[in-house]
Amino acid sequence: MAASVPELLPYAKIREDLFRPLSSGSSRYWITVFAALAVVVLGMAAWGIQVRDGMGVTGLNRPVFWGFYIVDFVFWIGISHAGTLISAILRLTDAAWRKPVTRAAEAITVFCLMIGGMFPIIHLGRSWLFFWLIPYPNPRMLWPNFRSPLLWDLVAILTYVTGSVIYLYLPLIPDMAQLAEHNVPWRRKLYRILSLGWTGSDREWHALERAMKLMACIILAVAVSVHTVVSWDFAMSIAPMWHSTIFGPYFVSGAIFSGIAALLLVLGILRRALGLELYLTKHHFDNLSKLLLLMSLLWFYFTFAEYQTVWYGNEPSEMAVFAGRIRGLYAPYFWIMVVCNFVVPFVLLGIRKLRTISTAMISSVCVIIGMWLERYIIVVPTLGNPRMNTASGVYTATWIEFAITAATFAGMIVLYLLFSKLFPIIAVWEFKPHAVEED
């Protein structure tokens, strides 16, 4: 029994187990990396075609000017809440079970933000003029409109990326200092530079722990604001089923929901691929599954509140969108979303006997699919059914948008696989051999 509790393992064994994946690389690992890279290259080619031929190659057309790209943007920014937010909450509450979970979560945040942050640029069409988003005076007087939620997005995401990168980097420093004596010269150089000459003195440890606590507080405030601002991209316009007061919390809870699902999925894959069964135990999956179940119930509550209010109000333009979602063109997506986001997690995770690592993984995949569909259902039907009925239209994505979307998923896989080969995916120094399990 004792061997299944990581805190009881000797520190030397923990070090060895967690540093080992950095040195070894199986053929399966490299096949996955290259397969994912092939999809990324396909997506880049599709983007190249879009840049060359213009936005006409996409399915975007009057009146639906926001399609897959904005759906992907909201989806990836949402998933990014996995890391920093969950890690910060667990760190501040001093939950002992967080130790093997936090770094994997923080890495998800950084990579998702990198991917999500690309979509507004892809969506611009003339991507090379992306710097027009940044407020700067110029001879053409193109001063951005400070009233625009799109500019708020830019500022919020820049703040979140900066904070998340630092939040990921800080606890990596002691581990990199331990790796500074690595036997591969380029790795040794990399770790030495990144560890900034860390010696492990008590002054350094004190400063690190203080900085982590403070960063956790700050990042919580930023994470909530980021997805609220993303929700305002929609809620600040007087469009049917967008102009809602609960869109901020609805988006934030949805983001945490999808984030936990992504974290569970990543941890499940890492556990198998890197042989971390001793460190990522059923206990961790059980706790995260309960969180996922809680968020599923919260998501259902928000969705019900949102739809019930619209239905009761019976306002014609709102009802056109409502009907499109519930029983019209978008109904299959809507009901798949309800099954994925509520029915599956509720059954698999709510019934104690069914709650295992495998069912947690199945639920997570379902939630990720469901949350992508939720973003699609929020973005497209409203634009397809504007207040002027005569201007309604249908959006069908082309292979360009599918390829770019697939490339972002593949890009996430590549980034994560490379990260897990460069840095220990579990913070080694945070594992102290304790006599009793802390929680």
Binding site: Y11, W143, F146, L151, T159, G163, D202, W205
Partner: protein
């Protein structure tokens, strides 16, 4: 001159630090090195910090600058607002909030680098002990009259190994 003593048990390390402080060696002259954070009892080797204050000041400074910059920008590059005020209170508020948080993040990180000493130029003559897993090394800076006494204290506190390092 430096004495470097290895300890395997935290209570012995704490006893050594207290005894050294009683012998006149200040907390500034002592450093504990370890591969994992050692949580010493309060009052043993406290390291006062201004990180929270710096973080708040960074937030105020960046948030204030952003607000002033946004106000000036909106007044200098006037948009057609259709009768609404030129200065957008709501828009400015959102951007200022994010800038405030960015200031707090950067100030915290900057102060971490400063306070931990990672950013400061180091004296390469000062010995840095090689720490083995599970071992806590206490480095004590002391001068000739105190060396023998400090060594005795470390020895009697239960140090497993004591090394004497001269500064070049």
């Amino acid at each position: 001159m430096y004495l470097i003593a290895d300890f395997r048990e935290q209570p012995k390390l704490e006893a050594a630090i207290l005894a050294l402080k009683a012998a006149g060696i200040t907390a500034d002259d002592m450093d504990v090195f370890s591969e994992e954070p050692v949580e010493l009892r309060r009052g043993i080797l406290d390291r006062p910090s201004r990180m929270s204050l710096v973080s708040v000041l960074g937030a105020i400074a960046t948030g204030g600058l952003a607000t002033v910059g946004l106000y000036a920008a909106q007044q200098s590059y006037r948009l057609v607002t259709g009768g609404m005020p030129i200065f957008s209170f709501w828009g400015t508020g959102v951007i200022s909030y994010e800038a405030t948080m960015l200031g707090a993040v950067l100030a915290t990180f900057g102060w971490f680098l400063w306070e931990s000493g990672l950013l400061r130029k180091r004296d390469k003559n000062i010995p840095v002990p090689t720490v083995l897993p599970g071992v806590m090394c206490l480095r004590v800076r002391c001068f000739d009259p105190h060396v023998t006494r400090a060594r005795q204290i470390l020895d009697s506190a239960g140090a497993t190994d004591i090394a004497r390092k001269e500064v070049a």
